[in-house]
């Protein structure tokens, strides 16, 4: 009890809180706190609904499909437990697709990091037409995938490949029909690399833009101070830029991983997974079995094998971001 209360005077804080409520008879819902909270939840609601309806529900549905014998033409599906996973596990092609998916992911990530970082640094420099160039570099990312991939298909054509004709004119390879004439989509190793190259070409501008956003957030004073202290370019990059933009880097990396692992269109349009499954990746296999062959259950099970690949990565990235924030 305060001195004031002891002396019979009003308790100032209690009066401030309780008196108006009593005077107007308002419930908690009408208080400013409640209004603030309601407004906050209202703003969050679209995002939460979006996640629940467009991500959560399909994910749960695909989990159900994966443990059922659902097929595209039958309205009734039976629960079959882990049968679809076992069937996928026993498929020779599944393991080829799994291996190709991992190679695809790792090689593409390396090249996208290198090219994305280089491009971001280039775009940081001041030069005439910088805004125009910034607009142009995102074109591969914004072009409809069908159009850009079909252009690449022509460039990789076994007979009319512009790449081969240029190399041939430069004397680096022989003429059409010779042993040294590369068949980009016909030789197993080359075909996978050709698909990865198109994926890298399409999405490295995204990496560059993400990095660029991070770089521009680094205060110039910090970099200038480091320069004055005699730090080299790479020391500044490693010890100042990377730690400061780490959360952005991680989010970019995460997006990129998801885009790469789930990229069906590049491989499907270029090779359909051939020659002889040399470019088959999990999304293509899932599509061929689930939709084209009509076996939704097994298609879903194969697609869900992407989750164990993605989940540890997601966990590590989010944990690292949290640590850096602390």
């Amino acid at each position: 009890m305060t001195t004031a209360s002891l002396s019979g005077g009003p308790e100032p804080r209690a009066a401030a809180v309780s008196l108006p409520v009593r005077a107007t008879g308002r419930s908690w819902w009408q208080t400013a706190t409640a209004r603030r909270l309601s407004f906050g939840y209202l703003l969050l609601a679209p995002a939460a609904l979006y996640v629940l309806l467009l991500v959560g529900a399909p994910f749960l549905f695909s989990l159900w499909l994966a443990v059922s014998d659902a097929n595209v033409g039958d309205p009734v599906a039976r629960f079959v437990g882990l049968e679809n996973f076992r069937a996928a596990w026993e498929m020779d092609t599944f393991w080829i697709a799994m291996r190709n998916s991992v190679v695809f992911l790792v090689v593409a990530a390396i090249f996208k990091s290198l090219l994305g970082t280089s491009l971001a640094f280039l775009l940081l420099q001041n030069f005439r037409g910088k805004k125009l160039i910034r607009g142009l570099v995102v074109i591969p990312f914004t072009l409809p995938v069908a159009i850009s991939v079909l252009s690449w298909k022509w460039m990789y054509d076994s007979q009319f490949s512009v790449i081969n004709w240029v190399l041939s004119r430069l004397g680096l390879i022989g003429g059409y029909g010779s042993e040294s004439w590369p068949v980009w989509l016909g030789q197993p190793g080359l075909a996978l690399m050709a698909c990865i190259a198109v994926n890298v070409w399409r999405t490295f501008p995204f990496s560059a833009i993400v990095l660029l956003a991070g770089f521009t957030a680094v205060p110039l004073e910090v970099l200038d101070a480091a320069k004055v202290d005699g730090c080299s370019f790479f020391q500044r990059f490693r010890n100042i830029v990377v730690p400061m933009i780490f959360p952005i880097l991680m989010i970019g990396f995460l997006f990129d991983t998801v885009f790469t692992l789930s990229d069906l269109s590049v491989v499907y349009l270029l090779t359909q997974g051939g020659p002889g499954n040399a470019t088959k990746i999990l999304p293509v296999l899932a599509y061929q079995i689930g939709i084209q062959a009509g076996n939704l259950g097994r298609g879903a099970a194969i697609a869900l094998f992407l989750v164990p690949l993605l989940f540890p990565m997601l966990f590590l990235v989010l944990r690292n971001i949290k640590r850096k924030e602390w």
Partner: protein, 445 residues
Amino acid sequence: MSDTPHPVSAQPVKSRRQFLRTAGGGLAGASLLTMLDAKKAPAQIKGTTLRILQWSHFIPAYDSWFDSKFTKEWGDKMGVKVRVDHIPHLELPARMAAEYAAGAGHDIIMNGSSILTRLYYKSLVDISDIYDGIGKKGGGWIPSAGPLVQVEGRTYGIPMFYILLPMLWRKDLFDANNLKAPDTWELARVAARTLKAKGHPTGIQFSQCADANLNWRSLLFSFGGAEADASGNNILIDSKETREALRFAKALFDEGMTPEVFSWDDASDNRFLASGVGCWIHDAISAYRTTEDTNPDVFKNTHIALEPAGPGGKRVSTSAANVYMIWKFSKNQPAAKEFLTHFMSEFKEGMIQSRGYNMPYLLGDAKKPMPIIGADAKMAILQDFPPLVAFYGYPGPFTTPIQEVVNLFVLPDMFTRVARGQAIEDVMKWGVGEYRRIFSKHKSA
């Protein structure tokens, strides 16, 4: 009252409701058939909309004719608004799955190459009545037509046309080298061996595309090989004929092709022929038409041969089937049935508009001379193909396991593996294993 039991009729006694249902159904069916026959629009289809989904035809002029003339004229006559949507043929299975899941979409949907009757038949309208009627009127269906659309004795689709993949060969190159026309696979191989050395190799897709699925099956079946028995339940791929076909394909690749065939898609061989490099290809006549449009000199010397015979003289031409189906959820089934009947009665016009690309399932339409191809000396040989035509799964029907085998390119992969140097027995072990795994999975399901 006597003790003798009352006589019981052998016929089951029909209730009044059953009688009315049977009589009403019969009356409605008879009315529809009469109206179809008289080419009058049934009253209930007037003022309705009919939605058709089909592929983008390889002969674009066909689509122009179909969309703006054929369907329009029929629609005007019947008082039906017809809307036709086109998508690439490879997207048809995905669209079909989407429409099925949504329970809404088009009234008529086309299947191209991948015939999904057995997957969807529970959701398709039983059109046995019009199938039989069309067949009767058109002189009967070719034998391979029925298994494409029939499940458990009922018919769920109308075979619209199939696409042949004959041998297209360069007569000038053959003549200059004293080579015989490629009437057998062996002669084709000798020609490829001879002409590759002179800068004119041959090519068949060793890749994952529709033509690879079709071409290698033609070779396999002509060699006496088979995929499944007539029931569609038993695999026949593990045979000495399959081994022979694989051995032959390896020799054909080594002697007469270049590695570019590993990267080919469905259009690569068209370009290969049109460029003047290829000595022969085994492809649809779109390749012939492409050559006509882009390289008249090569076209002049490009001839068409009958399906080459295998070592035993057998000829089987695996063709790409195309089928129309009607969804059960369609709210305009009478118009859809009416349209399909009309479409088949005007088949010859469609064949003309497709420049001879659409081949007939009806024996009446297959009589010589056929439009376009019957009037062209080089194409006339195509008229001899109907008895040789087969589809995936031969001699069995196009079942769901075969559908998966086709979509996973198991057979072309077997040929690809052999061409790349794997031992035939290893390839057989892998391929037969894949067939068995797929078939057993479907059997257990």
